[in-house]
Amino acid sequence: MSAVLTLDNVTAGYSVDIDVLRDLSLNVDAGRITGLIGLNGAGKSTVMKAICGFLKPKAGKVVYEGNDLTGLEPHKLSAHGIWYIPQESSLFPFMTVTENLRLPLESLSRATGTPARSEIEQRFEAMLEKFPALRVKLRAQAGDLSGGQQKMVEFAKAWLMRPRLCLIDEPSIGLAPKIVEEVFEWIRLFAAEEMAILLVDHNVRRVIAMSHRIYVLSLGEITASGEPADFAGDLHEQVKQWLGINF
């Protein structure tokens, strides 16, 4: 299995000496879901930000499809076939859902020539088949949608972009349980398209169940990693170990 994205000893942080990530290395395999569970809230989103160029690593490399992308400007990400679904909203609240969905795709089309204009329409139709509930919301302002509907637009937007790598940050936080189920349906939909996914979520069981490979992030360092089978034992005991509770 080849890695589409490799973090190579990445160190990053927001001030001179506080490193939120220390010497962090991980691989995201092509076409598979890689899970990142960070039990103590130290650095999961920072990993995403370091990959996307919102935070320039102080040391180490971000290698994507064999190219060094360390410190790439965020607006160039989509041209490399990377997409990021952040925890916070990336929607334009005063634009319609259609505008929200089309803008990144049109930017990409203008910047790189692909997809061609005719293909944009096709993709849009195909997207509506996967997300039929959006059809009646296309003309609504994105800011007027409920939290769950906004999440759906985020996923639909990602789906339209057909990235080779999709970074998904805490997709289910603050959503009602019924919508959480839908969110994970969408992630499976992405996986079925052979998209490589780096998934961060606080629901450890679900991440382990869905992922092909799992990394445990603790206080900025990878403290465990493995395949789902490696986490088959008593999860409670493992969580205690990750948390550093040894009694």
């Binding site: 942080g13 927001y14 001030s15 001179v16 000496d17 506080i18 490193d19 939120v20 039990l39 103590n40 809230g41 130290a42 650095g43 939290g147 289910s172 936080i173 603050g174 959503l175 009602a176 349980p177 959480v180 979520d201 606080h202 629901n203 450890v204 069981r205 679900r206 206080l219 900025g220 999860l235 409670h236 969580v239 205690k240 948390l243 550093g244 509770i245 009694f247």
Partner: protein, 239 residues
Amino acid sequence: MTLLSVRGVSKRFGGLVAVNNVSFDVAAGELVGLIGPNGSGKTTLLNILSGLADPDGGEILLDNVPCQGLTPERLAHRGVMRMFQLTRVFRRMNVIDNLLVAGRALGLGADEALARAHALISELRLDVIRHLDAGQLSGGQMKLLEFGVCFMVPPRIALLDEPFAAVHPTMKEIMGGFIRSRHEQGQTFILVSHDMPVVVELCPRAVCMNAGAVIIDATTREVLNDPRVIEAYLGGQAA
């Protein structure tokens, strides 16, 4: 003797219940760990306790006197001191002046404030950088400085939000030692931290929150062995 009493405090943001009917007491001289997974409402609770957010319901008693909804400055004068997770210092003032602000605002005379500032500076090992502007300090040094600001006048209760997050081990040790020694002198704390080994080491008692509510309030060992707590960290039920 109960120093701080939180009774049925709630806070919602839009549809999200950030703090849901939280109640617990802190006795004078206690060091209580407040733990819970991300988004469980710890920081919102600290914001309410320190006057940065108004609760939608419930009551907070400090020395048996209600104090919910007071401004942060009033609460500071009542002895509630808050340390922020994202450090807040006066960036264009030097380390000593940063400390003096709190000392003078809380009623110390000029000489006494200066003496205490120097004492804190040597206790927190900030001597070398005491004349630098706070904006020039490293992240860890800023944390130590903010620590000092909270203890210029020993507060009735200190609310510490993630003081150890991603800090260099030496500084972590300085802060840990500081907390321990103040605790021994009878200082009351609420300590929010993700660093469980430190919580185990420092706090005899812990309160665990999940989804805005207190799920268990017991000795730290009991709390960390409780399956509900582990389940909360597994993210089983967040909504």
